[in-house]
Symmetry: C2
Subunit: 284 residues, 2 copies
């Protein structure tokens, strides 16, 4: 079977064209939309990602402040910074980069991000609005998976989607979004007894566990669609996904590449959220 590459580049470009125009319209009538990127890690992969976000913002006419709290920052320090940026009318959007310092969890600090600036949808209120089907910002990676599938015209209504991974930032919010698309959704994870049995009956498999080579050809039914959300660093320092592409190719009808699949769409959606937050703030 031919396996179509479900690239995210064209979709990201289309989203970015719209975002750039909206950012320019805002900047014509006031300050440019402004994103505060709060960083409390010296992880190199994270630094690379933060840098790519800053470049994306710059290209789109979005101002981006990087606030570096250091890898030793306490939960109190991070909360205080997030609260200050939440209260600052010059800041339209806030994103807290992970990983966080040892002993600090996202749950410890995320509620200090005001919901109307929480463009990556990490705060409990944002997650609750999502669970209730209400209007908040959706975690960008989850939204990117759904948008990528729609862009490639993969049907979801009544289809069975298996999500591998149950993180608060990807797996769980993605399950909510897929239910809202009328898919039947299975969430599997590290404690799932027989992963292949669960995933091989699904029409769509989403790998979002953060483990290299977790999803192989044996996990995928003939003709299924596979979306790879993983961004792992391999032994050579190369970014690779959760899917063993070689064994899946020829078996799946579609597979999203890493890099170039979910990643660029995620960045594009984050930047769109920044512009939306700014539009809402200025309209008040």
């Amino acid at each position: 079977m031919d396996t179509v590459s479900l690239t995210g580049k064209e979709l990201a470009a289309a989203i970015n064209a719209d975002t750039g125009a909206r950012a320019a319209a805002l900047a014509a009538n006031g300050p440019a939309p402004r994103l505060a990127l709060v960083v409390a890690t010296d992880d190199p992969a994270s630094a690379w990602y933060v840098n790519s976000l800053r470049k994306a913002a710059e290209r789109l006419g979005i101002a981006c402040d990087r606030i570096d709290l250091g890898a030793e920052a306490s939960a109190e320090t991070i909360r205080a910074e997030l609260a200050a940026r939440s209260a600052d009318p010059a800041v339209d959007a806030i994103m807290l980069q992970t990983p966080l310092p040892d002993g600090v969890t996202l749950d410890d600090v995320s509620s200090s991000i005001a919901a109307d600036k929480d463009v990556d949808g990490v705060s409990p209120l944002s997650l609750g609005l999502l669970a209730a089907g209400r209007t908040g910002f959706v975690p960008a990676t989850s939204e990117a998976v759904v948008e990528l599938l729609k862009h490639h015209r993969i049907p979801l209504v009544g289809k069975h989607v298996a999500v591998v991974g149950r993180s608060n930032v990807v797996g769980k919010p993605l399950a909510q979004l897929l239910l809202a698309e009328n898919a039947t959704v299975t969430v599997a994870h590290s404690r799932t007894a027989d992963l292949a049995a669960v995933t091989s009956v699904a029409d769509v498999v989403v790998a979002a566990a953060g483990r290299i080579g977790l999803v192989t050809g044996a996990h995928v039914g003939e003709g299924a669609v596979v979306v790879d959300v993983g961004t792992n660093e391999d032994a050579d320092g190369k970014i690779v996904g959760d899917v063993e592409a070689d064994s899946v190719r020829g078996r799946a009808s579609g597979l999203s590449p890493v890099p170039g699949g979910v990643g660029p769409v995620t960045t594009a959606l984050l930047m769109r959220h920044v512009v939306v937050a700014a539009e809402r703030a200025r309209a008040v």
Copy 2:
């Protein structure tokens, strides 16, 4: 195969014994714990349920105010009432009865319930705290399903649980709770293409769709456990579940009865939440 009846009466009695003692301890040092039941419907099944909650509260030494806004109440009226009770220090806990008036949805009004009084866990913040694995009140029916399974020593770790129904009050929060128990979770619903294919491979099937006879023997694998969350009124005015018990019995290894299964545990957990809310408020 013998099908064990997974009754909830013993578990409810054990929870109630603890709740009654804690309510008495609170009342010995101040006012009794106080629940405000806000009602905006003239639905007879709802009236029956509200009455049973009032009786349960009375038996446990919990004060219970029924606030009747009428079946024509607007969203504004309901929101204002919920906000007033949220601000009233004499009220420890608030529960909004459904159904709501035509044109008013739970999502329209639930955010007016303060999270620390939201004992049925319906507000977006409560749902988000649940999604993030944090401490808020969990919707009582979902919690009752998990507690009933644990009480009857049904293993959940690594097991595949199929939840039929994706409501914000049962299906979705139940999926979160089951994931937290390390189960693999599938959420199926009215748009699921082949329900029996999805449910018949599960170790546990939870029927929570609100449709009489939706889950039959054909939907249940040999030896699986079936939990019936449905409380539907049949043509004779009798309360019946979502499970066709006759065809499931002999095939499942366990089945929760309706009435007498999830129902009494739900009421008991709601009352426990009221006492917990009061304990937290008094400790401040």
